[in-house]
């Protein structure tokens, strides 16, 4: 194994025993130093470690200091585990060789590794980060960006290292326990980081938000359902709810409808993949950029002057025989259901049952972005339908409409359901497009925007109540998703 170490026969046996337990690399322990020296080095290193942490704390970012503590915790954990394992090394070494050992003979190699690693951490990492920050700062001409860039590099190296270290370390710890305990415990150790993140950043805040929605602005006294009463009594919030309904209906219909139509049309042409890319690309841009793009499309000038918005220019040019007037798509609140007047939900607020044009304009921008998503999924479903089936129907004299209505549609229904639920969730959560196109004015606000408005003015109680309303709207979809997931699992 390790040639050249035969002279230290006793140490080799105990090292072999140790390595047999850890299964680690043999070469890494060549620089074995000896028990007392390692202990002294350990104390010095710990002092350096703590000292430098206190020293650097003022200067480094908060996250950096916390990482330091994590490293320290891992180090101490390793130390305790090794200490626990010492009797077993001795037993193992005594079993293999003729020589007898006591715990005094333990060379403590893992401690030495830890000491070296710590020295490296303390002496190398901060100066390296400092240099990196300086270089980046020079390159971008800003010390702030330099420091943040160095932090990014630290995270990129540090987070995977800490996670891999955590797994390797806990695996080493598990080796000290019986096999049944190992298989029972290992999954929880592997799940722990993810479950901790889920709990801290999703589950726990969700519970707190429920509680917060029953409290006043400062969060000190419970006010019962007052925040919800405010929501129901606020005309703006009700209009936001109406708009979310419009988003839900029209956004879902548009994205799934367009997506299905385009998937079926493109299935018949040879340039399918290039055309799909064109429809798909808007998904890669932000809602904000899309809002800018469509503000130019929807632009409106006074009738009679040249229209700079593409839509109105086309409208006026093509509609000139009937003297078509330009439409102010983003501001025009005319009711699209004018022919089909619905009864007022709440007397006096008639716009709650109206389909305002400007909302449809905003929804179309969203549909323009997300149709590609639906198209890709529906197209994959379409490709899964056997061509023989379709050909057989055509040979039997079915026309294209019948093929679509009787074969494609029923077979695609599960896929359509999946896509529709995804789109419904998007519609309920929509925020960016109204924020960037109208800032929620002109009766285009949505529930998510209402939440932001309350949040912005530190109305945390009301903001929480709005969030709960949003969650309540999404819960049915969530249950549908869970049921579908269980059905899929049952088929596995």
């Amino acid at each position: 194994m390790t040639g050249g170490m035969t002279g230290a026969g006793g140490a080799r046996d105990i090292r072999t025993a140790y390595l047999a337990m850890l299964g680690g690399p043999v070469g890494a322990h060549r620089w074995y130093l000896g028990h007392r020296f390692a202990c002294a080095a350990y104390v010095v290193a710990l002092a350096l470690f703590v000292g430098s942490f206190l020293l650097f704390r003022e200067r480094v970012e908060a996250g950096f200091g916390q990482l330091w503590l994590v490293a320290l915790a891992l180090f101490i954990g390793q130390l305790l585990l090794d200490a626990m394992a010492i009797p077993r090394w001795v037993a193992l070494a005594n079993r293999s060789g003729e020589q007898r050992y006591t715990e005094e003979d333990i060379p403590w190699p893992p401690l030495v590794i830890a000491v070296i690693a710590m020295f490296a951490f303390v002496l190398v990492v901060p100066p390296l980060l400092g240099v990196l920050g300086g270089v980046l700062g020079q390159a971008f001409g800003s010390a702030r960006i330099g420091a943040q860039g160095a932090l990014v590099v630290l995270v990129l190296i540090g987070v995977p290292t800490v996670l891999v270290g955590y797994i390797v370390l806990t695996e080493q710890a598990l080796r000290h326990f019986p096999p049944r305990f190992q298989t029972g415990m290992r999954p929880w150790l592997w799940l722990f980081p993810a479950l901790a993140f889920l709990f801290i950043f999703l589950v726990y805040p969700t519970i707190l938000t429920f509680i917060r929605s029953l409290q006043d602005q400062s969060g000190t006294t419970f006010v019962g359902l007052a925040n919800y009463e405010w929501f129901v009594g606020s005309e703006g919030a009700l209009v936001a709810l109406r708009n979310n309904m419009l988003w839900l209906v029209f956004f879902t219909l548009m994205t799934v409808g367009f997506g299905l139509a385009i998937a079926i049309l493109l299935d018949r042409v040879r340039y399918e993949s290039a055309a799909k890319t064109v429809i798909f690309v808007p998904m890669a841009i932000s809602f904000v950029a899309a809002a800018v793009i469509w503000r130019f499309m929807y632009d409106w000038s006074i009738p009679g002057t040249p229209q700079t918005g593409t839509v109105n220019a086309l409208l006026v040019t093509l509609g000139s025989p009937v003297d078509m007037q330009p439409i102010d798509w983003v501001r025009d609140q005319r009711n699209m259901l004018g022919l089909l007047p619905l009864p007022d939900l709440i007397p006096g607020i008639e716009r709650l049952t109206q389909v305002a044009l400007n909302n449809i304009s905003l929804i179309f921008v969203g549909a323009w972005m997300w149709t590609g998503f639906c198209m890709v999924i529906l197209s994959a479903g379409l490709k899964g339908i056997s061509t023989e089936l379709l050909e057989a129907a055509r040979v039997d004299g079915a026309n294209e409409w019948q093929v679509f209505r009787r074969i494609i549609l029923p077979l695609l229904m599960p896929t359509i359901a999946v896509v529709s639920t995804t789109m419904i969730i998007f519609a309920l959560k929509t925020f960016d497009i109204p924020y960037a196109m109208t800032a929620g004015t002109l009766d285009t606000q949505v529930v998510a925007l209402e939440m932001w408005n309350q949040f912005r003015f530190n109305q945390y109680g009301r903001a929480s109540a709005v969030a709960v309303v949003l969650l309540a709207a999404i819960v049915p979809v969530m249950l549908i998703n869970i049921r579908r997931f269980r059905e899929q699992e049952a088929m596995r």
Binding site: A62, G63, I145, G149, L151, V155, L156, L163, E171, G184, R186, P187, W190, L191, P193, A194, L195, F197, F201, L202, Y204, P205, L208, L265, I279, V281, A284, I285, S286, F287, V288, A289, V292, R295, F296, P306, T308, G309, G381, E388, E391, V395, P414, T415, V418, T422, L428, D432, A436, A448, W452, F455, A463, S464, V466, A467, L470, L471, I474, N481
Partner: protein, 299 residues
């Protein structure tokens, strides 16, 4: 289709072959409709692209299409202005600083847990994963108030670290879902024979599961990258008043509301914000498609 007509079963009457030119003509409306749809999807972006190279006065009084005809009057002024005066350059760097860790952290965290969900047995496994599926759709709004207070107490309010952590938490359910489904579909024999050969759990994970899951990890990385890069809401909430840290989406959204008459600068700013995600998307589209197919309609 030609194959089916040639390998007909005996007894089935031969299909009448329509002449090629009639076929082309009959499919004319199809190509026309597709061309219209493609135009509808291309023209908005193309119009903005043309406008971003035109001077402000021209944009205000003439549509973008007039810029295509001579006399040409293209300029880089809009780009120069937004990169220097409007802080778009800094915002681009901020977006990068925000996006890269917020992409790497959730994937690393999710990979181990996804492996545990896929290949280890433990009590409440299915129940826990159902919770993850439920968390997929919980509106982020439900977390903003408590998290904002938490970050403020930790002294992280307005810092990049807060946004990285938040995006990690928000991105985890999807990452777990996608990776677990992909890893679970890997062949069982591979892991069984590895276990017989004495591979430890980390050994099987690092040497088998991770290399075999590269397509899913790539899809996830693209997904998370696009989601964080294009995100407005989370950045708005957690970076809030810390203006120097604002990423592209926030700066762009603020410009929309503040520039008013100077719309021509918006065109260039929007294009700068689109450049990187669209490039990533076009280059890695195949992985991305595989990702959304794996995420929504499981194979």
């Amino acid at each position: 289709m030609t194959a089916t007509t040639e390998h007909r079963e005996p007894g089935v009457p031969p299909l009448r072959r329509t002449p090629r030119w009639r076929q082309m003509l009959g499919r004319g409306p199809l190509h026309f409709v597709i061309a219209l749809l493609l135009l509808l999807w291309l023209v908005p972006t193309f119009g903005l692209f043309v406008n971003s190279f035109r001077p402000g006065a021209a944009i205000r009084f003439e549509g973008w299409w007039t810029g295509l005809f001579p006399p040409w009057d293209f300029t880089l002024e809009n780009y120069q202005h937004v990169l220097t005066a409007q802080g778009i350059g800094d915002a681009f760097v901020n977006s990068l600083i925000l996006t890269i860790p917020a992409t790497i952290i959730p994937i690393t965290v999710a990979a181990f847990a996804a492996y545990a969900f896929a290949w280890m047995n433990f009590p409440f496994k299915n129940l826990l994963f159902v919770v993850v599926v439920g968390l997929l759709v919980v509106p982020l709004q439900m977390t903003f108030v408590p998290l904002q207070i938490l970050f403020r107490d930790m002294g992280l309010a307005g810092s990049f670290i807060a946004v990285w952590l938040a995006h990690t938490g928000f991105g985890l359910p999807f990452a777990l879902y996608l990776l677990r489904n992909f890893m679970g579909a890997l062949p069982r024999e591979v892991f069984e024979s590895a276990a017989i050969d004495g591979a430890s759990a980390p050994g099987a994970f690092f040497r088998l599961a991770v290399p075999m899951s590269v397509p899913a990890i790539a899809a996830l990385a693209i997904f998370q990258f696009l989601w964080v890069w294009n995100d407005l809401l989370v950045a708005l909430i957690f970076l809030g008043p810390n203006i120097p840290n604002h990423p592209l989406t926030v700066v762009l959204a603020n410009l929309v509301n503040s520039l008013g008459g100077q719309w021509h600068f918006l065109t260039a700013a929007a294009f700068i914000s689109m450049a990187l995600p669209v490039a990533v998307f076009l280059l890695l589209q195949r992985y991305f498609v595989r990702g959304i197919l794996g995420g929504s309609v499981k194979g």
